[in-house]
Symmetry: D2
């Protein structure tokens, strides 16, 4: 069967993603109480997973879920499925509306993707920039703003690395080179620190990058293991992206928006 792929997003799924609001909205405005919504999964094809009961795919969370809970729903990746992030994107859209009131803007772009090999998948690196960020947001020991952002990014499925400002390259720089020199308006001539000092924003743009591995569901015969320890070769069904990076950039922005909105409110900012 031919697999149709969406050129932009690299996904064979048809996901209308209609949101049904259950609570917290009245005449188009939020009520201050929890905004609950449902995104029904219209395009369920559990048959794709029928031969996966009791079988652990490589590179997936099948085995770890069983180790954690001693029970698992085999119909799809469950909460480890990237579909879980739809709720984050919806929440992030609300957070962005709040951030707009403070003129804070969040953008992302793809720094790098792996090569696209036939019948395989690729990962990549996404950079995110938070502009018009006020100084003084975050906390000095617990809840450092960079730690909050790192946790938010590493919580996105398939994230493998996080760096802020000059990041891993900073480990090679001398202190006199790394420290950002002042302008007289308290901005800095460089932004090696990525906009955060001591866990607190300094008013420069916050810039960070997150690395993601390629999706583990590859349209190839795959060596799985069953829960008795027998290796089984399975042709994986399910519908998985060749390159998830363009779609993941949306999640990066959403998680950044939620994190910054939290930090603003926790630092006492009001509208």
């Amino acid at each position: 069967m031919a697999r149709r792929h969406d050129i932009v997003s690299g996904t064979p799924r048809q996901e209308p993603d209609e949101v049904e609001f259950i609570s917290g909205l009245y005449e188009g405005k939020t009520l201050g109480t929890p905004l609950a919504f449902l995104i029904h999964n219209e395009d369920v094809r559990s048959d794709d997973y029928v031969n996966l009961a009791g079988v652990y795919r490589p590179g997936h969370a099948d085995y770890t879920y069983d180790a954690r809970y001693n029970i698992r729903d085999p119909r799809g990746g469950g909460r480890a499925s990237a579909r879980e992030t739809a709720a984050r994107v919806a929440g992030g859209a609300v957070a962005k509306m709040l951030l707009r009131e403070w003129d804070i803007i969040i953008t992302s772009h793809i720094v790098e993707t792996g090569e696209r090999i036939a019948n395989d998948t690729c990962g990549g690196i996404i950079e995110c920039c938070i502009s018009n960020m006020p100084a003084g947001i975050g906390n000095p020991v617990f809840g450092k703003l960079n730690a909050m952002l790192a946790a938010a990014m590493m919580g996105i499925p398939s994230a493998t690395g996080f760096e802020i400002g000059t990041g891993f390259e900073s480990s090679k720089m001398s202190g006199s080179l790394w420290r950002d020199q002042w302008n007289s308006d308290f901005s800095t001539k460089t932004n090696h620190c990525g906009g955060i000092q001591g866990g607190i924003s300094n008013g420069m743009p916050i810039v960070f990058r997150t690395a993601f591995h390629a999706a583990s569901s590859v349209p190839q015969e795959t060596h799985c293991i069953d829960n008795n320890g027998n290796i089984k070769t399975v042709m994986l069904g399910g519908r998985h992206d060749i390159c998830h990076i363009p779609r993941t950039a949306v999640i990066v922005e959403a998680m950044a928006a939620l994190t910054i909105a939290d930090a603003m409110l926790l630092s006492g900012k009001t509208l």
Copy 2:
């Protein structure tokens, strides 16, 4: 004045670091109630900071603290000082005692340090390995084990990057290469994922690396800015490490121990 440096730790400070326990201990055993301790700072030299009132050093959190709190104690780096981490190391020592009951072992080594240039400072990269980690520890969406570790590491002063398993390199690998192939005992032939799948440990060693920038306090004339926006050249006193990486490795292990002990207990493990 000649500055004496400890060869191993690269620090000119004399810090006996004697711990006084205030509560939670009785006849050498913890009581289950909070273990409170004080580490008195025996080697205070606030005079070193006397000309820094109202002055923001580059690469330090002086400015961001003022932006956050509108008030600041100028005698030293306050909570942004690496001295703050002494409490983490003491806490980590207790966490390691608990982890030992489960045979979990945490080690670290220095992967790389920057060059040591005269009158300057250098950073580096520290790798940490958690051995004998049981499978099934962590959470699938909120409180993913990799996110908890990332937050713990990025909360260490001067951290700029975090990666787990193959980390940033994984962004270049195809999915069929990245996904770790099974052995029949549920271990894997490679450990590209670094021991965590879907936020939950898989029983392989957890391996991650953290990058740190060089200390910003360099024994050179330094362009600071005062709170009126005037650039001032100051010869920084205070006692700061040439290369803080050997000492920071101890903090990495302590934070890893606290994080893993938390995750074990939150996942319902008992002794």
Copy 3:
């Protein structure tokens, strides 16, 4: 129009309360991940509230919600409606299944209700007993078990008082009389303390009482106030219980079950 009242529950509502599970269940078993469910409100009659936009009823939370959020959905009592507690009862049913594994049993009975006057409502007092409670559950300072129970009970709509063991009467007793004398099996001859000492269960039954005021929606002409400060006389529609106490006893048990289940898990108990 004649108002039909259910004799047992004292309510004119027809609430089939069908529960639709959205996540966390597979083949009749919980998966360890969040158990989400929807209870659709089949018997909505928003028309009853059409003349209440911008009007604050006495004894209701209409005014305080506006003071808190500056916006309010006038169709019913919103989150202050006792319908909100249906979710607590459903959650409590799950908690009771867990408690049954530890043989812990929660029961309640009505100690007292107010007189039932024509065209008016009445309140009452509910006693709850937790039997087979193991000793050693709870915490000594923060999260005392009695404080957790008090917060759970006072969080039920229309609660006005909470007391444990001999409660308010204990304030009149001398210390030598109040302190429960030991039996040789560590049970006590009396249970004035209600099963909790220093925030921690002592193995005796936990016994407490909660007082509830009568429902404020009375089928009489009612002096409301609009948001301009004008007093308005309104004949309140909506369907409200004459005596909510029998139905509230179910909520008391549910909240007790959730609280005790939490306390068991937080004290390290496993199955």
Copy 4:
């Protein structure tokens, strides 16, 4: 030996209660970072407790601590000692300074104490009033302001009951009587609800009462039990108050101040 008692506070202890600030203060102002302080216990007489190792007093938390932690420090009541509340009173003093900025005033008075019988102890009831409370503070489901206050009060040693507004008496009132009638300025003619509706303050004074049992340490021969189940008659030493109610009123105010300050900040109020 004659026991000297302070007339006002009814205590035989000499407690200078000198506070040593460890962090968070600079030149008489708080820094926004944790305000840590030590109150050294100058008047320790552990000898009073020397015959109490492995012995459980009636009405005390000795047995429950052992049940919870399997280890206990026998030198005094530990965290169950009312001395623990000194930290709450110090914290409450800071919270009161914050509340003063919003003109919120917290007062308490003793409603009732038990009779003072020779060689015995007595309890009582304390009423607390929070004046100038703004409307709109608190939360509708989790973190209801009345639930927060109930938890705070029931967390004070020896608390046995809590009621707000008309409290337990409200259970006897009809709904038409209970519901507070409006004045045209949104105040109410009565305050049966005690200033909170649906978990949120309504701008009327918040009024609640807390009941406390008498202290269990009575200067009489006392039947204790050892950890082998043997009843032992002990003449209790230690220094305990005849009537702790005057001292406990100070704790009531402190806990109320901490709770209201929390609720103000959580509801988004700023200075």
